[in-house]
C-alpha cells in the first residue's frame, strides 16, 4: 500500500501547492478561482431572462452550454472552470475572457466559411472570441443571410453559421455589459448642467435637466414654460448653468456639442448594457413586470416620465462593484450590498421564493448522479447475470436500483417545486418522466415476479432515458424551465392529460423493451429450453401493454377534452392528436388480436416492438413534420437519430420473423417425429 500511496500523495500535494500559489486575484489578470462567497452570492443573484426570474447561475449555465456544448470549460491554462466563474470573468475581466476557447464549431467548413485560422484545431473544436474576431463581420453577415433560409432547407454548415453568429452576439452582450461602468463620460464641460459625477447613474439622475438644457439651447429659455409649465420651468431654470440662461451663439454651440457628446456616449453604453435584466423595478409586480437592464434605464430616463430613483440606487451599487474588481475585500463588500438590494427588492415583489431552491437543484446534479448510479447498477446487473446462482445478487439488484430511481424522482420533484407545475411541461421533461415511469413499473414487476428480467430492462431504460435527456438538453442549449405559452398555462390539464399520455408512452416503450428481450433472447438462443422464462416475459409484455393502453387511452381522451376547452373541438385530426390515436389503435389491435388468438407470444413481442416505433413517431417524429396546432412541441435536427432507431427496430422485427420461421420448422419437426 505504502509503495504507491507515496507518489499519489506527493502528486496531490504538488497540485495543491501549484493551485495555492496561483494568485486568487492579481491585478487585472483573471482570478484563477473566485472567492467562494462571491460565487455563492452571484449564483443566488436573481435575473429576469426568457420571461422568468431565475438565478444568475442558471443563466450562466445555459449560456455556456449553448456556446460550448457543456457547462464547464477549460481556460487557456487548462483549468476546468464552471459556468458561473466563466460569466464572472466575462463581466469583470472581459480582456481575459476573450481568450477562453468556448465557441464550439462542429466542422472545418464553418471555420473556413468565415476565414478563421484553424491551425492545430481538430475538426470539432473550440475557438476563443479572439480567434473568431478576424472573421466576425463575415460571420455576422453570413448568419443574417442564412437565417433568412427556412431552417429545414439550410445545409449543416449554414445552420452552424446561424448558430455561431447568434452565439457570438450573445457573448458580446455579456462581454460589453459592464462597459457602462468602465467608461469615462464627458461630464467636465462647464456648460453642462452640473456638476455631474463621472458615472452612468449620475448622468441618468440628471437626465431631466439635460433634456431641458438641450431644449433651451435649441429653442431658447422661453420654450421652457410651454414645455414644462411655469412652476416646473422655474425650478429647472435654477438648475441650469449660468451661461445657458442667456446664451450667445458660441455658448449655445458649445453647450449643444457637450450635451450631445455626453448623450451619444450614454446611448452607446445603454446599447451595450441591454442584455442582462438585473434590476427589479421599485413598483409592485402587477404594475411593472419587466425587470430592467441599464440600457432600459437610459431609455426610461430620457424618454419617459417614469421615476427610476430606486433602480438607479441599484445601478450605483453595480458600478461600485465593477470599480472594485481589483480589490477583493471591497469587491465582496460591494457585492453583498448589491446582492442585498436586488434580492431584497425581488423578495418584496414575491420573485425570490424559488431562487435558492433552483441553485440547490442544479448544484445537486440529480440527473447526472442518477445516470452514474444507473451505470453502476448496469455493471451490478451484468455481474448478477454472470452469477446466475446467486440469490443475494438477484435480491439486491432491484434494491440497488432504488437509489438512482430515487434521485431521478427527487430531481423531478425539485423541478415541480421550482416551477409550481406538474412534472411534465416541456419535451425535455417528457423524457425524464417517461424514464421514471418505465423504471418504476419495471421495478414493481421485478418485486412481484423476481425473474431478473424487469430489473435488467429497468437499468437499460434508466441509462438510455437519462442519456437521451442529457443529449437533448445539450443539443437545445436553452433553459429547460421556460415560460409557458398561454395555451399550456393550465396546471389541471398539464397534470392530467400530459402526465397520463407520457405514462402511456413510457409503458409502451417498456413493453417494447421487453419485446426485445423476447425476440433477441429467442434469436440468440438465450435460455434455450426454458419456456417458463419466455412465458414470463410474454406475460410481462402483455401486462405492460394493458397498462400502456389504459394510460394512452386516458391521455388521448383527456387531450381531446382539453382541445375542446381551448380550441373548440374534441378532435381535429391534428398530427399530434393523430399520433396519440395511432398508439391507442395499435395497442387496441394487439390486445384484440391476442384475445382472438391471431397472435401468440412471439407475435405479442413483435407487436410491442412495433408499438415502440409508433410511440417514437408520435412522441418525436410528428414534431419534425412542423404542421399542426401543437407548435410549442416542434423539434428539428433529430431526423438522423430517428432513422437510425427505425433501422435498428426493423432489424429486430426481421429477427422476430426469422425466429417465427424457426419455431414453425421446429414445431413441424416435432410433429413429424411424433407421427413417425
Amino acid at each position: 500500500m505504502m509503495r504507491w500511496n507515496a507518489p499519489v500523495v506527493a502528486l496531490v500535494a504538488a497540485v495543491w501547492a501549484a493551485f495555492a500559489a496561483m494568485p486568487a486575484r492579481a491585478g487585472a489578470a483573471p482570478p484563477i478561482t473566485w472567492d467562494e462567497e462571491v460565487v455563492e452570492l452571484f449564483s443566488t443573484l436573481p435575473i429576469q431572462s426568457e420571461g422568468r426570474i431565475k438565478p444568475l447561475s442558471t443563466y450562466a449555465a445555459f449560456k455556456l452550454l449553448k456556446l460550448n456544448g457543456r457547462r464547464t470549460y477549460r481556460d487557456p491554462e487548462g483549468w476546468k472552470r464552471d459556468s458561473m466563474e466563466w460569466l464572472l470573468d466575462c463581466l469583470f475581466f472581459p480582456e481575459a475572457a476573450r481568450d477562453y476557447p468556448v465557441f464550439l464549431i462542429e466542422n472545418y467548413d464553418t471555420a473556413d466559411a468565415i476565414g478563421v485560422a484553424r491551425d492545430g484545431k481538430k475538426k470539432r473544436d473550440r475557438y476563443s472570441y479572439a480567434e473568431l474576431l478576424p472573421g466576425r463581420d463575415r460571420l455576422l453577415s453570413l448568419g443574417e443571410q442564412y437565417s433568412g433560409v427556412p431552417a429545414k432547407e439550410r445545409t449543416y454548415t449554414q445552420s452552424q453559421l446561424v448558430n455561431l453568429a447568434s452565439n457570438l452576439r450573445e457573448f458580446e452582450q455579456i462581454l460589453l455589459y459592464l462597459d457602462f461602468a468602465r467608461c469615462s463620460y464627458p461630464v467636465e464641460s462647464p456648460v453642462l448642467p452640473g456638476p455631474i459625477e463621472n458615472r452612468l447613474s449620475a448622468v441618468l439622475e440628471r437626465a431631466p435637466v439635460l433634456r431641458v438644457a438641450l431644449a433651451v439651447l435649441d429653442h431658447g429659455m422661453e420654450s421652457l414654460g410651454q414645455l414644462l409649465g411655469e412652476e416646473e420651468a422655474r425650478r429647472m431654470r435654477a438648475a441650469l448653468p449660468e451661461g445657458i440662461a442667456e446664451p450667445d451663439e458660441a455658448t449655445r454651440a458649445a453647450g449643444r456639442e457637450a450635451i450631445r457628446a455626453l448623450l451619444d456616449e450614454v446611448d452607446e453604453m445603454g446599447l451595450r448594457a441591454a442584455g442582462l435584466a438585473l434590476f427589479p423595478p421599485s413598483a409592485p409586480r402587477d404594475v411593472a413586470a419587466e425587470w430592467l437592464a441599464p440600457g432600459d434605464m437610459v431609455s426610461l430616463a430620457f424618454f419617459s416620465d417614469r421615476p427610476i430613483d430606486g433602480e438607479l440606487a441599484l445601478l450605483r451599487d453595480l458600478e461600485d462593484l465593477a470599480a472594485a474588481r481589483d480589490d477583493e475585500a471591497r469587491f465582496t463588500e460591494c457585492l453583498r450590498r448589491f446582492h442585498g438590494g436586488v434580492a431584497g427588492r425581488a423578495r418584496s415583489r414575491g420573485e425570490y421564493d424559488t431562487i435558492r431552491t433552483e441553485v440547490t437543484f442544479y448544484k445537486a446534479k440529480f440527473f447526472h448522479r442518477s445516470l452514474v448510479l444507473f451505470l453502476a447498477c448496469f455493471l451490478f446487473v451484468a455481474i448478477m447475470w454472470m452469477r446466475p446462482g446467486s440469490r443475494a445478487l438477484a435480491r439486491l439488484a432491484p434494491v440497488a436500483l432504488l437509489a438512482p430511481t430515487g434521485l431521478l424522482l427527487a430531481g423531478i420533484v425539485f423541478r415541480c417545486v421550482i416551477r409550481g407545475r406538474p412534472p411534465v411541461t416541456t419535451l425535455y421533461e417528457t423524457i425524464l418522466f417517461a424514464t421514471l415511469v418505465a423504471v418504476s413499473v419495471s421495478l414493481f414487476i421485478e418485486f412481484m415476479n423476481r425473474r431478473k428480467t424487469a430489473v435488467s430492462v429497468a437499468v437499460v431504460l434508466g441509462v438510455a432515458g437519462l442519456f437521451l435527456a442529457n443529449k437533448y438538453e445539450v443539443r437545445e442549449g436553452v433553459d429547460t424551465m421556460p415560460s409557458m405559452v398561454a395555451v399550456l398555462d393550465t396546471n389541471f390539464w398539464l397534470s392530467t392529460h400530459v402526465t397520463t399520455i407520457i405514462m402511456g408512452y413510457a409503458a409502451g416503450l417498456l413493453a417494447a423493451a421487453l419485446g426485445h428481450v423476447y425476440i433477441l433472447g429467442r434469436a440468440a438462443g438465450f435460455k434455450r429450453g426454458d419456456e417458463g422464462f419466455y412465458d414470463a416475459v410474454a406475460r410481462m409484455v402483455y401486462g405492460v401493454t394493458c397498462f400502456g393502453f389504459l394510460f394512452a387511452t386516458m391521455g388521448t381522451v383527456l387531450g381531446g377534452i382539453w382541445a375542446a376547452q381551448s380550441w373548440g373541438r374534441f378532435w381535429g385530426w391534428d398530427p399530434k392528436e393523430n399520433g396519440a390515436l395511432m398508439i391507442v389503435l395499435w395497442q387496441a389491435a394487439v390486445l384484440h388480436a391476442r384475445k382472438g388468438g391471431y397472435i401468440r407470444d412471439l407475435g405479442l413481442g413483435a407487436s410491442a416492438v412495433f408499438g415502440g416505433m409508433v410511440i417514437v413517431f408520435s412522441w418525436w417524429g410528428i414534431n419534425l413534420l412542423g404542421v399542426g396546432l401543437h407548435s410549442y412541441g416542434f423539434t428539428s435536427g433529430i431526423l438522423h437519430s430517428l432513422l437510425a432507431f427505425y433501422a435498428i427496430e426493423t432489424v429486430v422485427l426481421l429477427a422476430a420473423g426469422a425466429v417465427g420461421l424457426r419455431m414453425k420448422r421446429c414445431d413441424a419437426g416435432v410433429a413429424n417425429s411424433a407421427r413417425s
Binding site: G51, M448, R450, R539, M554, V557, I561, A564, W567, G596
Partner: protein, 395 residues
Amino acid sequence: MKRPARKLFDLCASTGVACVLFLLLFVLTFLGTVEQVQSGLYDVQQRYFHSLFVVHWAGGVVPLPLPGAYLLMTLLLVNLICGGIVRMRKDWARAGVLVTHVGIALLLVGGFVRARSAVEGHMTLYEGERADEFESYYEWEMAIAEVKAGGECTEYAIPGAEFAGTASGGSMTFVREELPFDLTVSGYARNAVPRPASGPMGGGARTVDGFYLEPLVAVKQAEQNIPGVYVTVRDHKTGGSHEAILWGMQRCPAVIESGGRRWAVDLRKVRRQLPFTIALDKFTRELHPRTSIPKVFMSEVTKIEDGASEQARISMNEPFRYRGYTFYQASWGPPNAQPGQPLYSTLAVVRNPAENAPLYASVVIVFGLGLHFGVRLWRHLRTEHLPGRPAGGAR
C-alpha cells in the same frame, strides 16, 4: 348450417374484423398525418377523415384506395355493438370491458352527431364593436339581395358546395321563382385573383369588364384560399343578360338591375345568425416579460339579449358558453401591430349538440378500463402468489 343472418351477425361481431378495422384506421391515420405536410389540415380532414373512401397517392404516383374514416368508424361502431356489447358474455370478469365498449360507442355516436350537426366559425371584433352573427372559416356562399330603400333587404343564398362543381368545367343555372332572373355560374376557382385583361397573362382568358379570373394553386391553410367565379344574369322578361366576376375579397358586391329592381350579388363566407349579440369591451394581450412568448389572451365581452346584458371573460382554456353556443379565444391581430395600435380579437364560435358527449364517454371509458385492468392485475397477483405455484405461475 348457420342462417345467413346469424352468419352476418357473427361476421359483424368478429374480433378479427375489429383487428382489421383498427389496423385500417391506423394506416389511414398515419397516411393522413404525413399527407398534411403537403396538403394542409383542412384538405386532409375532408379527404381522409370526413369521407367514406379515399385514394392515397403513395409517393405521389401509386394510387392506393382506402376506406375513409367515416366508413371505418361506422363499421367499428357496428362491430363494437354486435361483438363488444350484444354478444359479449355478461359476467363480472368482463364488466370493465363492457363498460369501456359502451363508452367508446358513446364517443363514436357523439362524433357522428357533431359531424352532422355542429356549426363552427369565428367572429372578429375590435374593442367597442359588436356582432350578432359569425362567419364560417371555410364555407363560401353566393348571396343575392334586393336593395330596397330604407335599408330593408331580402337575401337568398346559394351554398358554395352547389356551384363548386363548375371548377372542372361546365356551368350551373339557378332559378328561383322570387327572382326576376336566372343566374348561371361557371368557371369556379377555389383560389383565384382577378387580373386586368390587358396584363401579360390576359390573352385568351374569359374577360368581363376588362378583367379575367386567374386561378391560383390552393394554399395549405384552407381558410386563406379566396375563391372566384363568373356569373351571368339573364332577365326573365327582357331576355337580356349581364356578366360579372365575383371574387371573395372584393370590397362591394356586383349590382344588377333586373325587372326594374336592383340586386346585389356577392361571394362571401357563410354567415350564421346568433340569437343574441356579443360586444367586445376589452382585449388584453400579455407577453411574458422581455419575450415574445404569449402569456395571456383575454377578451372581456358583454352578451346582450332582449335589452339585458351580461359580462363574461374569454381566455385560452376558459370559453364562454350560452344557449348552446360556445365562444373560445382563438387569435388576435393585426399580426405585426405596433405598441398602442388597436388590436382585434377573434373568437371561435361553435354550436355542437353533442358537446358534452366526449366528456361523458371519457368518464365511462376510463372507469371501464380502470375496472378491467384493475381486476386483471388483482387476479394476476393472486395467481402469482398462490402457495405451491412455481414463480411465474400458470395462466
